[in-house]
Amino acid sequence: MAASTLAHRYAKALLDIGVERKIQDQIGRELDRVGGVFSQTPELQELFRNPKFDVAARKSVLGELLKRVMVSPVTRNFLFLLTEKDRMSSLKDIIQAFHALADESSGRIRAQVTVASALSEPELARLRTVLGKLTGRQVIVEPKEDPRLIGGVVTRIGGKVYDGSVRAQLATLHARLRESSI
């Protein structure tokens, strides 16, 4: 089974439970927190990847982690299920699929906004508004800083990219210089 299909199935099952209990947004946030801890902790990734650690050991560590991260019983049981099925390696894909499905079901859309310098709250609000007009949907902005942009903003939303970065302008200038020299 393809990883995306598998992640979609797990995400759909979790979303159905969340919608039924009206905690889908909470589950989404909890998954983001757990996913963040996993992505920043290579030891955790090794624990769930290395076959020399059995399910009991993994569940024990996961239990300790979830005490600190604080998640709902639904999220907790879901993560233990993934551990038993040895599917924690797909957690990142499952979280992405969960958000996509949740956004789709609620008429929302996510925008990955990359900036060189953090946007102020009024700027973010203005961005949400204008992206909402462009897409006709409620927009969830996920900002991220990347100094390689030098300056400006890059927004990825619904398969489109609105690149207003200084890096892109320099790349365009570079291409024109190359073309004019040819």
């Binding site: 310098s117 203005r126 462009l134 300056g151 400006g152 609105y162 210089l177």
Partner: protein
């Protein structure tokens, strides 16, 4: 000819009898009679000989003459043939000489043509090599120029990026974000 082999022997016998008869006579008058008889014998013998040998001798002579004539004709024919063959050989020799001359001339012509062709080929090769070398040089120059221009462009962009990074202030970030949002709002 074998038929007349007895004639010398017969002649010798008659002569011997004549001599014996001449030696045995002691008287002058007695010696004429045997001589006459011997002469008659000789004449008779000759007559017999002529009578019997005339025709064969004539045939033999005629045959001989015919043979000699044939031999002469044959010799003439052979001579003629020899002369004809000589002329033929001479003609052939002359022809061979001409062929040899023609062949030599042809070889010279071919040699000249081959020489011209080789020279033409060599010139064409030289021209082709020269053009290829020119093209290679032009290509290499173009590549070097493109590399140089690319490096210049890259240096320019790198310098621009460095200067922008140095000069870019928080207010500039705000201005860039504002311009970005304005452009999006124009699209919306």
């Amino acid at each position: 000819m074998r038929r007349f082999a007895f004639l010398p022997a017969l002649g010798l016998t008659v002569l011997a009898q004549s001599a014996f008869a001449a030696g045995g006579g002691g008287h002058e008058e007695a010696s004429f009679t045997p001589v006459i008889f011997q002469g008659l014998n000789l004449l008779i013998l000759l007559g017999i000989i002529v009578h019997y040998a005339k025709a064969p001798l004539r045939r033999s002579l005629a045959d001989r003459a015919a043979q000699v004539t044939r031999d002469i004709d044959e010799a003439a024919r052979l001579h003629g043939e020899a002369e004809a063959r000589l002329k033929e050989y001479e003609a052939k020799l002359a022809s061979l000489q001409k062929e040899a001359d023609d062949l030599l001339a042809e070889m010279k012509r071919e040699g000249e043509h081959e020489k011209e062709r080789l020279i033409a080929d060599a010139k064409a090769d030289a021209e082709r090599i020269r053009r290829e070398a020119e093209r290679a040089a032009e290509t290499e120059i173009a590549r070097a120029k493109a590399r140089l221009e690319a490096e210049i462009a890259q240096h320019a962009i790198t310098a621009a990026e460095r200067i922008i990074r140095e000069k870019l202030q928080p207010a500039d970030h705000r201005r860039l974000a504002g311009e970005y949002l304005s452009r999006l709002e124009e699209r919306a």
